[in-house]
């Protein structure tokens, strides 16, 4: 049996309004070797509540990684990204923009807002699986992040 590479389950916050995508991400992660805990918020306002531990997310863990969709209800991904990177408490959390948009304007804007990387969701399931695995491997295993 594969042991988790960290002693506690890693927290990943997925900000995604499409339940199909949420489930697909869950299914792919379930088949992998990483036993991270995946928290899901379906719009920008809730994502920020989660990160700031407000309201019903008062007991939330601070995530080690945020997977952020750009087009979200109420408050979109660009605004969420702006707030995260402005906040001295939150700005060290890596944010991976994971979106269907391949528009040059979105890519440029995201990096200008200090996104840690930008990934276009592949249409093909095998490729999507590979992308999720690689995100996990890179951001949760290879990368050295500052201790809290």
């Amino acid at each position: 049996m594969n042991l988790p590479t960290r002693w506690h389950p890693v927290d990943v916050l997925l900000v995604e309004d499409n339940p199909g995508d949420v489930r697909l991400t869950l299914e792919v992660m379930k088949d992998g070797k990483f036993h991270n805990h995946l928290a899901v918020t379906s719009d920008g306002v809730e994502a920020l509540d989660y990160l700031h531990r407000r309201g019903r997310h008062a007991d939330a863990f601070r995530p080690d990684l945020v997977l952020l969709d750009l087009n979200l209800p109420r408050k979109d991904g660009r605004e969420v990204l702006t707030e995260i990177k402005k906040d001295p408490e939150l700005r060290r959390i890596p944010v991976v923009v994971l979106t269907t948009s391949s528009a040059e304007a979105d890519i440029l804007k995201s990096y200008n807002l200090q996104a840690n990387c930008y990934i276009v969701k592949p249409v093909d399931l095998d490729q999507f699986t590979r992308v999720i695995r690689q995100i996990q491997e890179f951001w949760l295993e290879i990368v050295k992040l500052p201790a809290e």
Partner: protein, 500 residues
């Protein structure tokens, strides 16, 4: 006594001769019977006769034949009551040269009492130049009067001095209403500062031409005009007045505005259409991704665990979704192909190099022989031109039947443009399809035979046309295909390498 008077007479004669010859005008002295007695050098020159040809002959030889008989009557009448007649009075008169040409003259007459009897001294002045100047002035005056443009002159203090019919039509004021009034009343209040500056400019000796501004008509409507104006200076160079020619360009301006609005509208609707195609194909990806991904997930987890039919159905569904994905991607590429946003010099040699690099595996697998001409630089968007060559060379590799592909990428200069060609020895295309293959999603073969969605050539056509070129095809089944396209050539200035 007699000797003295003879001497005095001869002195007087010398004085007279000198004056006579020195006169600026032609002089002809005629006897009572109309015979020429004396002429001066000016007369010889004017009429083209030597004095020996003239003296003793009737003066009518210097008059156009059609006036001669009338002249004899006049001369006879004059002889009975001779008096001094100054120049510039009476009828238009004409002289007749030895070479039979006529010319306008002015004539002054003076009776002379001499020992030889009554003579008439005739002073003749050629007024050809003056007549011509008068005619020119009359022509100019009629031009001013009949001109459709407003021709106006203004005094130094801006009062209207002249006002032609064109000005009456343009501004709606009659000459009577306008002359003496300040011109500034034709200038819209908001443009009066500009008008003052223009007036100062004229006063300083400046002029301007086709200056576009606006003026007010007598009925209060504003019109677009083009003004050409210059100062009128007196002999000492002082500004005394100005003149202007003003043309109504309201219609032209309106046409310009309409054309501009039309172009903007067109650009807007084009941009909207492109945006639509982009958004539509982009937003289509989202649900499609769900369909394709979950079908794949079902297949991964349940293939072989349901019955054979279910496996077939899943495979068809996955195939359909995959093809749909490809079509949407192609639609996106096609919509992007319509934009040439950053045209800059593109080194096509480098582009071909990249294309051949990207196709290397297929080239090696098919053992294709590829030859190419040296490529120029053209203006365009590199990525789009890359797509064109990739599609054309890719097609040449693909549609080759069983033979080993031999492909030539050619380039030549023709009539200010570049002519490119991609020639292959492949299966060829029947003439009836030569137009159709450039349309979107047109395929000539079954999917099993040659894969593809049929977007490649449509993209090529769109890119080439957006770059100002044309694309066409020469081919016959079994004879290979030559795809040709043109691109505008750029001059050396643009081709020069940037200094860095």
């Amino acid at each position: 006594m007699a000797a003295k008077s003879a001497i005095e007479r001869s002195r007087g004669e010398i004085k007279f001769r000198t004056l006579f010859e020195a006169a600026l005008d032609a002089m002809v002295i005629v006897a009572k019977d109309g015979r020429i007695v004396l002429v001066n050098a000016q007369a010889e020159k004017l009429f083209g006769y030597s004095r020996t040809e003239l003296i003793g002959n009737p003066v009518e030889m210097l008059i156009p034949p059609r006036f001669r008989s009338r002249h004899i009557q006049h001369r006879t009448a004059y002889a009975s009551a001779p008096k001094i007649r100054a120049m510039g009075t009476g009828l238009d008169l004409y002289g007749h040269r030895k070479d039979c040409t006529d010319f306008p003259i002015e004539v002054g007459l003076c009776p002379l009492e001499t020992e030889d009897g009554k003579l008439v001294s005739t002073v003749i002045r050629d007024i050809t130049e003056r007549k011509r100047a008068e005619e020119t002035r009359a022509l100019l005056a009629s031009l001013v009067t009949t001109a459709s443009d407003a021709i106006v002159s203004k005094s130094r203090d801006g009062l209207i001095l002249n006002w032609n019919a064109g000005a009456e039509r343009l501004y709606g004021y009659s000459a009577q209403q306008a002359i003496g009034r300040p011109f500034v009343m034709m200038v819209p209040p908001r443009l009066r500062a500009e008008f003052a500056r223009m007036t100062e400019w004229l006063a300083a000796g400046g002029s301007f031409s086709e200056y576009e501004t606006r003026r007010i008509r007598s009925d209060g409507t504003e019109i677009d005009v083009a003004v050409t104006a210059s100062p009128i200076l007196d002999a000492s160079g002082r500004f005394v007045a100005s003149s202007s020619i003003t043309r109504d360009i309201t219609d032209r301006k309106r046409a310009e505005r309409e054309a501009k609005a039309h172009a903007e509208e067109l650009a807007h609707s084009n941009a909207e259409l492109e945006q639509f195609a982009y958004v539509a194909s982009h937003d289509l990806q989202e649900p499609l991704r769900m369909v394709a991904s979950y079908l794949q997930l079902i297949r991964q987890r349940y293939e072989g665990r349901l019955d054979a039919d279910a496996d077939d159905f899943i495979r068809f569904a996955v195939d359909g979704a995959t093809r749909m994905k490809q079509l949407i991607n192609d639609l996106l590429s096609y919509s992007r192909a319509g934009r040439v946003q950053n045209a800059q010099p593109v080194n096509l040699d480098a582009v071909i190099e990249h294309v051949l690099g990207a196709l290397r595996l297929r080239i090696e697998e098919s053992r294709a022989a590829i030859t190419r001409d040296p490529m120029p630089r053209v203006m365009g968007e590199e990525v789009r031109l890359y797509e064109v060559f990739q599609n054309l060379v890719g097609n040449a590799l693909k549609f080759n039947g069983d033979s080993t592909p031999a492909i030539h990428v050619g380039c030549s200069r023709k009539n200010g443009e570049w002519l490119f060609s991609v020639a292959d020895n492949g299966i060829g295309i029947a003439p009836e399809y030569h137009e159709r293959i450039f349309a979107m999603f047109q395929r000539l073969h079954g999917r099993g035979e040659y894969p593809g969605t049929g977007i490649g050539l449509a993209i090529c056509k769109r890119v080439i046309e957006r770059h100002g070129g044309r694309i066409w095809l020469e081919s016959a089944p079994g004879k290979g295909s030559v795809f040709s396209f043109t691109l505008p050539a750029i001059d050396r200035e643009v081709m020069r390498e940037p200094a860095n």
